[in-house]
């Protein structure tokens, strides 16, 4: 209530009876929404907005990225690290189409961003005018909501609605396309924050009957198992999850996007799920008698063969998005609710319990995995540096406290396995879409969204070269990111699959790379390279203690594989430790 009143006071001061341009109304609306940072790239159709922005430079920090894809990934990183809505400005036509990958990424990974695209004047819509593209129809499948505005007076309400939709319920990307005449047009300005919509109900009513049924299953279970997804982070349910797990003594595993929602050093934490997850977490999915899925959506990378997934177990699915319930895995008890609310309601109904023998079964698998894989990844005696030892040492040196942003590929899976995340919202990656090129711009955004944190991007040599033009942005604004490139001179993950499933036919996966250190120097970013194991720890230490931005390239073994692995289409219990 107080917050509402404060917001109202702030917006009152922005109000204007005298007509102002639509462009200025947009800027004032963003200020009313407490936006502090915008990532963008100008062009003809959004010039009035940039002109208005010029006057508000003191209140809004605009970061000029080097590509629109960089702008939206930066906004995603900003949103994921800060919990706020990321904001993007781009022009029409190619500016708008360059957003598409980021929109799809934000949509599948539930990241709140509001994108403003400039559009040609309304009388030119549909005429193939210069830089006119049908951005509305192009982006419909990859936005939670989108709207085209053709009148200045409609801008404040559209912005209010956009922010409300982006951040509430299951968050997601929203796009507002504003024609140039609407940007130039004038109207008095009044801002009314949006608090509800007739046809949109972001927070379902908690069904206590379902909660009681879930509690009963938990109380009866001998081998319960919690799978925690990003919903735990998004709903702020970290403490509630811990309380429930501790009270009923239930082991907890994380999905890729759920990482950091449960402290890795907690005795009940059993690890990472899925194709390149841990051995125990996958094997025991098919041995538990109760699966409690919280804020996760049973992605195929988690389930493997659905027909052989947890058939022996009862399933409780706590999930905010009703469309995810029974979509992939049929729930015995579905709790359609916000994760925090549901877990807090469950807690008093769940009886204190002990499952020592069941938890010990995870430890036995972990021991096997440690002997066969982890020990060799962390402490190899010979050969080139391995990704595993780099990430393990980084985790030790930062004590699992840094914000880690990964790209896509082997390094991403190795990081998910070996970085011991201790605090919520410290893991940012492109999960659902698997977008190479995500990490560098997302890390920029994370550093701006969480200015007091150490932000480290871990990237492969392939993904790094997809968006490395953002080094220009990092350099221009001195954005304090640490960039760690694990260079195997291959598109490593694809090469691994070629080796394992295509008889080592390395079809177009080897990369001849530039001298990254020289490249970084050209951007004015201090850079170093390490090629030998004996120098690795010192190099990492220096990398971490030096002021950011800073770059470190680690030359790693070229043909290393990430194990264990659930082969595509296999059951989670058929995970292989080696070939």
């Amino acid at each position: 209530m107080q917050q509402k009143a404060a917001l109202q006071m702030k917006t009152d001061r922005l109000d204007s009876e005298l007509p102002i341009t639509g462009a200025e109304a947009l800027i004032r609306s963003l200020i009313a929404e407490s936006v502090d940072t915008i990532f963008g790239y100008p062009g003809g159709a959004i010039m009035p907005v940039y002109d208005a922005l010029y006057l508000y430079g003191q209140r809004l920090n605009h970061i000029l990225t080097r590509h629109e894809q960089g702008a939206i990934h930066a906004a995603q990183g900003y949103a994921r690290a800060s919990g706020k809505v990321g904001v993007v400005f781009v022009t029409s036509g190619p500016g708008a189409t360059n957003l598409v990958t980021g929109l799809a990424d934000a949509m599948i990974d539930s990241t709140p961003v509001v994108c403003i695209t400039g559009q040609v004047a309304s009388h030119l819509l549909g005429t193939d005018a210069f830089q006119e593209t049908d951005v509305m129809n192009i982006t419909i499948p990859v936005t939670k909501w989108s709207v085209q505005i053709t009148r200045a007076e409609d801008i404040p309400a559209a912005v209010a609605k956009a922010f409300y939709i982006a951040r509430t319920g299951r968050p997601g990307p929203v796009l507002i396309d504003i024609t140039k005449d609407a940007q130039f047009g004038k109207a008095p300005f009044h801002y009314e924050p949006c608090h509800g919509l007739r046809t949109y109900h972001p927070k379902p009513q908690l069904n206590m009957e379902a909660v009681r049924a879930a509690a009963e299953l938990i109380n009866q279970s001998a081998r319960p198992y919690i799978l925690a997804g990003q919903g735990v982070l998004l709903s702020g349910a970290v403490e509630a999850l811990k309380a429930l797990a501790e009270k009923a003594d239930i082991p907890v595993a994380n999905t890729l996007l759920g990482l950091s929602s449960f402290p890795a050093d907690h005795p009940l934490y059993v690890g990472f799920l899925g194709m390149h997850g841990n051995y125990s977490t996958n094997r025991n999915t098919n041995e538990c008698d109760l699966l409690i899925a919280v804020g996760m959506r049973f992605d195929d990378r988690v389930t493997g063969d659905v027909s052989k997934y947890a058939r022996q177990a009862k399933i409780i699915h706590i999930e905010l998005d009703e469309a995810e319930i029974n979509k992939i895995i049929k729930a015995d008890v579905a709790v359609h609710a916000d994760a925090k609310e549901a877990l807090e309601a469950l807690l008093p109904l769940v009886k204190p319990n002990r499952h020592s023998e069941w938890i010990a079964s995870f430890r036995r698998y972990q021991q096997e995995e440690f002997e066969k894989i982890v020990s060799k990844d962390w402490f190899p005696a010979t050969g080139l540096i391995k990704m595993g030892e780099v990430v393990h040492q980084l985790s030790e040196l930062t004590q699992g406290q840094a914000i880690i942003v990964t790209d896509v590929g082997q390094h991403q899976m190795v990081t998910s396995r070996y970085y011991a995340f201790k605090r919520p919202r410290t893991h940012i990656t492109s999960g659902g879409l698997g977008t190479m090129g995500f990490a560098l711009p997302a890390a920029m955004g994370a550093a701006l969204g969480a200015p007091h944190e150490q932000v480290i991007a871990i990237i492969g040599d392939g993904g790094f070269q997809m968006t490395l033009q953002e080094l220009g942005t990092i350099s221009q604004y001195h954005i304090p990111v640490k960039i760690l490139v694990l260079n195997n001179s291959f598109l490593g993950m694809v090469r691994q699959w070629q080796q394992l499933f295509h008889e080592s036919r390395y079809s177009f996966t080897e990369m001849v790379n530039p001298d990254f250190v020289k490249l970084l120097e050209a951007y004015g970013i201090p850079a170093a390279r390490v090629t030998e194991r004996d120098h690795l720890r010192d190099a990492l230490q220096e990398f971490l203690s030096a002021p950011a931005p800073r770059f470190l390239e680690v030359k790693v073994e070229k043909e290393d594989n990430v194990f264990p692995m659930v082969p595509a289409g296999a059951a989670v219990s058929d995970m292989i430790l080696e070939v």
Binding site: M136, N137, I140, P141, K144, W145, S146, V147, Q148, I165, L197, R198, T199, Y200, D321, E322, A323, I325, N326, K327
Partner: protein, 96 residues
Amino acid sequence: MKKDFTFIVYAENSFGILNRMINAFNRRRIRIRTLMASEDEQNPHTGSAGFILYTTEDMMRKVKPQIEKFIEVDHAHYEEGTAAFYQYLQQLSVEK
């Protein structure tokens, strides 16, 4: 087993909402046999769309919440067969 279903959606009458619905069916390769979309005579800010779809019951169960989650959609319902679709058409013509 695939069969005919009547699927009716009530929604705000905004640009793009019909595309969103059709995309949801196309994405899952659900065949649209018939489609009728109409503004509400009394309140042109709202409207409805009726579809005859050829698909499985399981698919209907899964796609319904995917459509209901669109911001402008108020609610949707479906039933087996085409009779409900013709009742819906009749209702529209009475209202007009």
